[in-house]
């Protein structure tokens, strides 16, 4: 019976979405098709604001102000369809409409709301005021100033977090590319069981990250983890190594960021490997023949032929990898123990998460998120610009 209930809920949800899309398409169809009829404006202004009022009734009690607002919005939309769109490209726009409305609801609205929040002060002490009156105190740029002057957590400052994030990103991406490149070079040779190796190497990437990270976290456990057991055995077998300080380490409490880095490197190598392998396989073997005759050694071929020729695939992959690593909250959140764990491993986004959902500083977090976004935007544009320049010279 439980199963039936769940199925019923899923089907109901699907029907609801279908109805929503249908209503949306109907709404746009009306505006496209009848924009030049005499009754276009009266019918639109009579029907749609009332419909919107009915749909929004469960969210807030219908009021005259709401109705006026919907009326104004509909007037603007109808005018745009009558004098600007004028029924052109009906089919393409109708087909695009669900995607655009979905994007607007899921991306544009939250982004605009976040932007709005970052100039106000929504936190634990003002949230009841917001609920009761619908107003939040406007504070201007205060939140942005706070981002750079106060700590999002209890002790670490923004600047320390930024440095840590840059170090984390650089280390990860560096070893992703290095490891991926080395493995791709190995796999690009004609070796036996190549398909098996490739499959095995891609598994960490194919596994859900939560499962992979939690499994790896277990391996770093202080007494029962694989890593410490091996280190302990090595120290016992080679006493001179033990003298040098090799031995079990409290990974999760003493070296949380290092642990996160090791785990994330392991997780990220397969992606780079696949991308670089694709690049390597697209290089014509005649370049290597020509280089052989020209007298290039293995490393010269790597340096003068392989690297320049995989650059076009490597650059976008590095850009993506940088953004993903910079924004990677999963690994840190899952390894260091959820809210209230250590702060030693926090990078910008995980600190941001804690500021919002552990310390309930919503407006501050909104400003913080916009700063992080600006940083990433800058980094990506720089990368892509460099990539374009590289493409020009080819």
């Amino acid at each position: 019976m439980e199963i039936l209930r769940s199925l019923y809920e899923v089907v109901w949800f699907i029907v609801l979405i279908a109805l929503g899309v249908g209503a949306l398409e109907g709404y746009f169809y009306y505006h496209f098709k009848f924009h030049d009829r005499r009754w276009f404006f009266p019918a639109a202004l009579a029907a749609f604001p009332l419909a919107a009022l009915a749909v929004s009734a469960p969210l807030s009690a219908p009021s005259f102000a709401h109705w006026l607002w919907f009326l104004g919005a509909e007037a603007v939309v109808a005018a745009a369809f009558r004098w600007i769109v004028r029924g052109r490209h009906t089919l393409p726009y109708l087909l695009l409409a669900p995607a655009f409305v979905g994007l607007a609801l899921l991306l544009v609205y939250p982004f605009v709301f976040e932007f709005y929040l970052s100039f106000h002060d929504l936190k634990l002490t003002t949230i009841m005021m917001w609920k009761n009156t619908g107003r939040i105190p406007f504070v201007g740029l205060d939140q942005y100033i706070k981002v750079f002057t106060t700590s999002p957590l209890s002790e670490v400052t923004f600047w320390a977090l930024l440095g840590r994030t840059l170090l984390w990103t650089f280390t990860n991406v560096f070893f992703h590319v290095l490891g991926g490149f080395a493995l791709a070079l190995l796999l690009n040779n004609s070796i036996r069981f190549k398909g098996v190796y490739r499959t095995l190497l891609v598994i960490p990437w194919a596994m859900p990250q939560v499962v992979a990270v939690l499994a790896m976290r277990g391996e770093f456990h202080a007494t029962n983890g694989f890593v410490n057991i091996v280190l302990g055995k090595i120290a016992a077998a080679f006493p001179f190594l033990a003298h040098l300080g090799v031995g079990p380490v409290q990974w999760l409490s003493d070296w949380p960021l290092t642990t996160c880095t090791i785990i994330n490197i392991w997780l990220g190598i397969p992606f780079m490997m696949v991308v670089i392998l694709g690049g390597l396989q697209s290089i014509s073997s005649s370049y290597y023949d020509a280089a052989d005759i020209d007298g290039a050694t293995y490393f010269q071929k790597l340096r003068f032929i392989t690297l320049p020729l995989i650059r076009p695939v490597l650059m976008p992959a590095v850009t993506l990898g940088t953004v993903w690593t910079f924004n990677n909250i999963n690994v840190i959140y899952l390894v260091t123990g959820q809210a209230g764990g250590t702060e030693q491993a926090d990078i910008l986004v995980s600190a941001l998460y804690k500021a919002a959902f552990t310390y309930n500083r919503y407006s501050y977090s909104a400003a913080f998120a916009i700063v992080v976004f600006a940083l990433l935007f800058f980094i990506s544009v720089t990368y892509l610009h460099g990539f374009d320049a590289a493409k020009e010279e080819r």
Partner: protein, 365 residues
């Protein structure tokens, strides 16, 4: 400059024998073209000489030195590839000087050699360009320039013109012929195009199925093909073949099959009695099938039906049915007859070839 010798070269890819005992001597300053249909092993032979493929059996000698196990760069050869293999991220100049830079050659020396090669190939204007900014013919010239700059003992060309369009191919063919006169180097050139082979070569090596069929000057292989394969491969349009049996009728040796009966003159097959009863294949080039006015005063006329005429401009290809055989005759334009009309033809016996049907070897003189 150097001589090259292949001695009993064998190449196998696993169980698949690609080359089966290739013996060729190439002299100093010689332009040798290796020609054959695709899959005959000609490119493999060239790549083995370059050191890009291992030698399964036999020896390769450059200037008397056995090079089987020598690294490609140590063999003092330069190769021009079918797809040019210009490094796409280097300028023309960098491409041409790459080998010298790897060898840490003196900068002035590099510049001198690059500009010399560029002036030979008229590439001075393009030195700073990227390969993708060049046309196919220009890229080909850069690839040749890259070879010249290294001053190798032997130049290897691997189907260098096959990626160019027909007109450009003709131009580059002349360029390469001029280049050979100027460099006076040992050149080994692989192609599947028998026109390139005939026009460029000092000597032609014709290969099929991993075996050398004939080695000789273009005129030798054209006039005296050693076997049926060479006869069919060299020359365009292709030679006509007629299968039949030789028999002695009185003093005369007669070739006959179901459709045709010809007297074989003694200058074609001396010692005529020996050939009585032999199964043979007669080969006649389309130019030597005489039709209309050309064939007025020959004996042994054959009746046929004109099937198709192809006008080429100054010449015309006539496809003529003689019984069950189709013969191609190439005559002066215009042969003013409509398809379906009866024509009489005869053969120029002086240029006729006789091959044994079983061994496919040439038996005429």
């Amino acid at each position: 400059m150097a001589s090259v010798q292949f001695k009993g070269i064998i190449k196998k890819f696993k169980d698949n024998t690609v080359l089966n005992g290739v013996d060729v001597d190439i002299k100093d300053h010689e332009f040798v073209v290796i020609v054959g249909p695709s899959g005959c092993g000609k490119t493999t032979l060239l790549r083995m000489l370059a050191g890009l493929e291992d030698v399964t059996g036999g020896d390769i000698l450059i200037d008397g030195l056995r090079v089987n196990d020598l690294h490609p760069s140590k063999r003092q050869i330069a190769m021009v590839f079918q797809d040019y293999a210009l490094y796409p991220h280097m300028t023309v100049e960098e491409n041409m000087s790459f080998a010298l830079r790897l060898r840490k050659t003196d900068k002035g020396e590099i510049d001198a050699r690059v500009s010399e090669a560029a002036s030979i190939l008229q590439l001075q204007k393009f030195l700073k360009r990227m390969p993708k900014q060049l046309s196919g013919g220009q890229r080909q010239r850069v690839a040749i320039g890259r070879a010249i700059v290294r001053k190798p003992k032997v130049f290897l060309f691997d189907e260098p013109l096959s990626n160019l369009d027909a007109k450009l191919r003709e131009e580059m063919r002349v360029e390469i012929a001029k280049l050979y006169q100027r460099l006076n180097a040992t050149i080994i050139y692989v192609t599947h195009d028998q026109v390139e082979a005939m026009t460029l070569a000092g000597r032609i090596v014709i290969m099929n199925k991993g075996i050398v069929q004939q080695v000789g000057s273009p005129i030798e292989v054209y006039r005296k093909p050693a076997n049926l394969f060479v006869a069919g491969f060299i020359g365009s349009p292709t030679m006509n073949f007629m299968h039949g049996r030789l028999s002695l009728e009185g003093e005369k040796l007669v070739f006959s099959n179901a459709d045709i009966k010809l007297t074989v003159p003694p200058y074609l097959l001396s010692d005529q009695k020996k050939h009585d009863g032999r199964e043979v294949t007669l080969g006649v080039r389309p130019d030597d099938v005489l039709v209309g006015r050309d064939g007025q005063d020959c004996s042994d006329k054959v009746d046929g039906v004109l099937e198709v005429c192809e006008l080429l401009g100054h010449r015309e290809n006539l496809y003529i049915n003689v019984g069950g055989m189709r013969l191609l005759a190439t005559v002066e334009a215009f042969f003013n007859r409509s398809p379906g009309s009866a024509v009489q033809l005869c053969f120029n016996y002086r240029n006729m070839h006789v091959f044994d049907k079983a061994t496919e070897k040439r038996i005429s003189d």
